[in-house]
Amino acid sequence: MDKAYILDNGILELYVLGELSESDQQQVDTAISQYPELQSHLDAIEESFEKMAFENAIDIPVNIKSELLNTISNTTTKTVSIAPQKSLRSYLNIAASITVLLLIGSVYMYSQLNSTKKRLEVVEQENAKLNSNIENLNNYLSETNKWYVAINDPDVQKYVLTGNAMMPEATVISYVNNIDKSVVINTKYLPKLDDDHDYQMWADVEGEMINMGVIDKSKDMLAMNYIDNAESLNITIEPAGGNDHPTVSQLITNVYLQ
């Protein structure tokens, strides 16, 4: 469609009124974009029609507007109603995140608790060890003190029993207190015997050997039975557990008391 044809045949008027077919309308569209003159013609027609329509406007009841806006908001509320779901979902996301954090936190706390428990066990064990060490030390100290007091008494007489030809390396130091009636010996330098034999100590009273006790080799210092009127102290090797009578052939050392 060319410009002259459009103008001569009142095509623009038909265009404005919407009377043209789809294809004609498209052709006019193209022509208008090509010729500014057609555009200004069209503007004038549209303006006239519009002004005339406004001059002949008729007021309508207000309720149509509210009805219209209601209908539209009702159709849009359907889409809007997704929004709360979104926010609900985000709340759920937040809740889930918090739950995950709490879960991670509690797993961490649990592992911390476990390692703390283990450490506590170790500490308790060490503490028990230390306590038993202290107890041992205390026992040792009290025992040592006891022996120290026992052998440092001014009433104590010290006798050293040295080994005879049978056992020259043996030495036993004995502390005799005739006032307290006690005998303490130091067996530290007495050689160890096999399991079938024990050392046994005897007191000689008027030619008779009286048992003072089997020497316990697990202790360095030990108290023996005090025998009244002993003239000498003697140590023999006897079968394990001791003997009723001393085996004189097995005498390893003796000392005469003053």
Binding site: E50, A53, A57
Partner: protein
């Protein structure tokens, strides 16, 4: 009217407030067209609401480069009204066409407020009638020239002349207003 651009952009982005403002501006003009076409208040109200629903739903189809917003809205209103009349026409024609015509004329007398006013009244009677037929009664050029009993070419020139006169009177009105404003200052 070009300051409508922002408003129409808002409408196209589905702003309900924009639709309200568009309604305030154009509804009376469109209603004036619709009711003159169908001459039935209840139908006209429904058709107007229908028109604005379409304006709302199809607003993205409006291209400001291809003409005024009002022209676009007018075409929607006109098509809806013509579709409505076509359906009712068929029903009525089955009954009796003469009864329908009598009734329409009767009602036209009652509907005095539908008589055209404004600048169009200054046009010659045949020009007024031509414009009324195509613009306010929704007839096509082909229907209208038969109605007026003149050849199609003559009818087309009626429309052209009428539009030119309308334009001139609007122009005169603008000049008059400008002079009036100048004098008042």
């Amino acid at each position: 009217m070009s300051n409508d651009k922002a408003l129409i952009l808002k409408l196209q982005s589905k702003d309900e407030t924009a639709l309200g403002l568009i309604y305030d501006k154009y509804s009376a003009a469109l209603y004036g067209v619709i009711i003159r076409m169908c001459r039935d208040e209840d139908a006209a109200k429904n058709l107007l609401q229908d028109t604005f629903m379409t304006i709302w739903e199809k607003s993205d189809k409006y291209d400001p480069n291809k003409g005024r917003f009002y022209t676009w809205a007018y075409r929607i209103a006109r098509n809806k009204t013509l579709n409505f009349l076509r359906k009712t026409d068929q029903l009525i024609q089955v009954e009796d066409l003469s009864v329908y015509k009598d009734r329409t004329e009767e009602e036209t007398d009652k509907l005095d407020y539908l008589k055209l006013k404004g600048t169009i009244k200054r046009l010659d009677a045949h020009h007024q009638r031509a414009i009324e037929l195509v613009y306010f009664n929704g007839l096509t050029h082909r229907e209208a020239h038969k109605e007026m009993d003149v050849p199609l070419g003559t009818f087309k020139s009626y429309i052209k002349q009428a539009l030119r006169q309308l334009q001139q009177s609007y122009f005169k009105l603008i000049i008059f207003l400008m002079v009036l404003i100048d004098v008042m200052r």
